[in-house]
Amino acid sequence: MRQFFPVEDLARDERFVQTNMAERMKDGRTAIAVEKQSSAKSRGATKRLTPERHDASDAARGLMHGIMVGEIQALEGAGRTAHDFAAGDGTGDTVPFELKLDMARQAWDEARHVEISAKLSDWMGTELGEFAENTVLFEAACSNDPILRLAGVNRALEGLAIDVFTQMKEFGDVAGDPYLEFCEDWMLADEVTHVKMGSDWLRKVTANDPDRRTKALEFQQVVDKLFSFGGARGESAESSFSLAKRFRELAGFTDDEVETISAMDAEALEERKEAVRKYRERVGADA
């Protein structure tokens, strides 16, 4: 077995359809509200994923399917990190033995999350493969530096999972679906643990290597911004998901780090709005 495993070789059965993030976001059933010309009736309405949204059913199903394939990739990524690096002092190509154990534990947790997500998808009336899968999460787990993997996957992406699961838990509560709320609550607890693992190991392994820490945090910011989906996560009512600040603090994020992510989300939202404005101008000029 190779030491490092490329994303294009991820093994899937024939039901899965893989695509890139841009193509995935073009699916009209996405939970991330797509910019449309707002009518007088919809103007000012929140874009949060709530049962009141006219597309709530498809959006929630699509999101749950996205969570399931994300959990599969998180399982694969944790398994690879348990495999790819020898036990050592954390320098070079080695990771501390206890970090490998944490990755194995995370693999078990993610396997349970796949089980839970599969049950939930079935509960919500979704077939496996009904929505496309983008493999960006596993790509973040392909770095040759294990600390970059922890920054990208455990801190950025599992951090996003905290935000999404918090939103889905609320969705279950408001929609009167205790099954959904129950499952999301349990997965949320695990995600906080995984983010904390990432935070703790990042600090421990890079304690005497500030350059490596800086590089890892920069990588985390890149992944964070990529997965803010153009401000789809943020404090604004125009964002589909909010930033779950309290749970992030429990997971080892400092106040400054939470504020940085919040500011980055807001910036990403403005960039998306500007892009949409320019697109409309161009389409208008062409018409």
Binding site: D9, A11, H83, R105, A111, V114
Partner: protein, 225 residues
């Protein structure tokens, strides 16, 4: 306490071992020999959890993928139990004894982890569930039944927890295999791969070498007074 309620005292003097407690001191392994075996266990459990974790991304069958992820943690936990046991056996640098029993055992792990392609799920499962885990069960059972029940009770306690996992995981893996092996060609593949790996394992003698289940030429140190 002298409450003066009565002058008669019921004796609390009892034998140190209750009549039904038949545990005894003699055991087959010295501290050093136990540490050596535990180091071999840790090495093999590590190699197994690494392999299971690495294979998750390579198998297309969703149920197998999830089982491998689950079992990956079980074996990591076993490795952790042995890692923590080593300093209690006077080995303050656990990595010193975290080694394969012999060169053949190392070769066995290389051969077991060789299959990577997505169509080789049968070979991956055969190596783990029809060759390696049965060897773990054998070595752990031999150790549990031959070590001192009193002096080495911590090892026995760990082995009992671990054996429960090994039996459960073996059952999971064997049932997955039975569900995947559905044609004569599958049977041939499974048997061929098992034979190839078994031959190396026989050379290795088992998880702790020639004396893994007490039948090897290496003699153990008799414990006891």
């Amino acid at each position: 306490m002298g409450n003066g309620a009565t002058d008669t005292h019921e004796s609390t003097a009892r034998a140190p071992f209750a009549p039904w407690d038949r545990r005894d001191i003699p055991g087959s392994f010295s501290v050093d020999e136990t540490a050596r075996r535990v180091g071999n266990y840790k090495w093999a459990e590590m190699k197994l959890f690494e392999a299971l974790g690495g294979w998750v991304a390579t198998v297309p069958e969703l149920d197998v993928k999830m089982r491998l992820g689950t079992h990956c943690y079980h074996h990591a936990w076993h490795a952790d139990l042995w890692h923590k046991r080593l300093p209690e056996l006077r080995e303050m640098k656990p990595e010193r004894l975290t080694v394969p029993a012999n060169e053949a055992m190392e070769r066995f792990i290389s051969a077991m982890t060789e299959p990577e392609a997505p169509e080789l799920t049968i070979e991956k499962l055969v190596g783990v569930y029809r060759v390696l885990i049965p060897r773990f069960i054998a070595a752990y059972t031999y150790h549990r039944n031959n070590t001192s029940e009193i002096t080495d009770a911590p090892t026995i306690r760990s082995i009992n927890f671990i054996l429960q996992d090994e039996f459960d995981d073996w059952r999971d893996g064997e049932m997955l295999l039975q569900s995947l092996v559905t044609t004569p060609e599958h049977v041939r593949r499974a048997a061929d791969h098992q034979a190839k790996l078994e031959a190396i394992m026989v050379e290795a003698g088992g998880i702790t070498g020639a004396d893994s289940i007490g039948t090897g030429e290496t003699s153990s140190t008799e414990g006891g007074a």
